[in-house]
Symmetry: C2
């Protein structure tokens, strides 16, 4: 069936990351983004697309830093809390009962319950349609030891995927070798 | 553990789409991309990141059109064929034993075996690091009836996810309701 083209994003399941930032005064913010992707290997660049009015973009614009938190399905029920529009400088991390952990290279905090983290500095930003495409250079990548075996171990990390609304997913591992 | 930041893309499982294009002479091309994301709702924009030397980018630059094919895990073994660097104007679709189907709004063909298709026109392109970020406006979105029930039915469509190399995945459905 043909769909309204505006429903195009309901056709796949995408990795759901949580992006954490800090205001210039140091108050944390966090929000889920399923509009995200790696862009470049060298330099390593990871991009998200954000509503331009979102506190995430306000903080990144002002501090030029953010953290990409890769989260597992056990945090699935927290996404609806993190996506709420709390007043600026109310920390969604605390509202969701999650743990702020200091980062190593940026002032934006990590979320302790995530299974992996990318500490990023703003590389480029551009408005595209009704979103801002925010590209960050990956300064540091870290993963829980038990969740990595050459690549992410999806059976252990259970990375959260999102389709839309209440529809989420979690990957089962598959291998397809070169013939 | 800390990883080389260049390994950042091995930390999640991403939707693996196949992008099909046509050369100005009408010869088809197709290649898998796991660097992809929705960017904007209005206009509806979908982006991929491509190696700038890739035939996909050459065709999009010249024709300003492409099709995003959402594929299921039964096509997983074809990805290594589609990603090979065949000579320009050798069709990877035919080499992989897949079926070219005419699109409705663009000259680039669809891949018949996919479960959903986005017909796109070039909206914007920008070099970011060692890739080109190619943004397309979604002109038409279509899905197999049996694979859609308010959102993609992942149990039926079995959308192919990719991590890197031979490591793939397929999503299991989860629901997380607002409290």
């Amino acid at each position: 069936m043909e769909l309204n083209p505006a429903a195009f994003y309901k056709l796949n399941a995408r990795c759901c990351v949580v992006v954490s930032t800090a205001s210039p005064r140091g108050i944390s913010n966090a929000a889920p983004f399923s509009f995200n992707m790696p862009v470049s290997f060298s330099p390593p660049i990871f991009a998200i697309a954000s509503n331009p009015g979102h506190d995430t973009w306000r903080n990144i614009r002002e501090t030029r830093e953010f953290v990409v938190n890769f989260v597992g399905e056990e945090l699935g029920e927290k996404m609806h809390i993190l996506e709420r529009d709390y007043p600026y400088e109310v920390s969604e991390i605390k509202e969701a009962g999650l743990t702020e952990v200091p980062s190593k290279k940026v002032k934006a905090p990590r979320i302790g319950e995530a299974y992996a983290w990318l500490e990023c500095s703003l590389y480029d930003a551009k408005e595209l349609g009704d979103h801002v495409l925010i590209a960050g250079e990956v300064l540091l990548a870290e993963v829980r030891d038990e969740c990595y075996d050459r690549v992410v171990d999806v059976a252990r990390a259970k990375p959260l995927l999102h389709i839309s609304g209440e529809y989420f997913g979690v990957p089962l591992a598959r291998k397809f070798r070169r013939a």
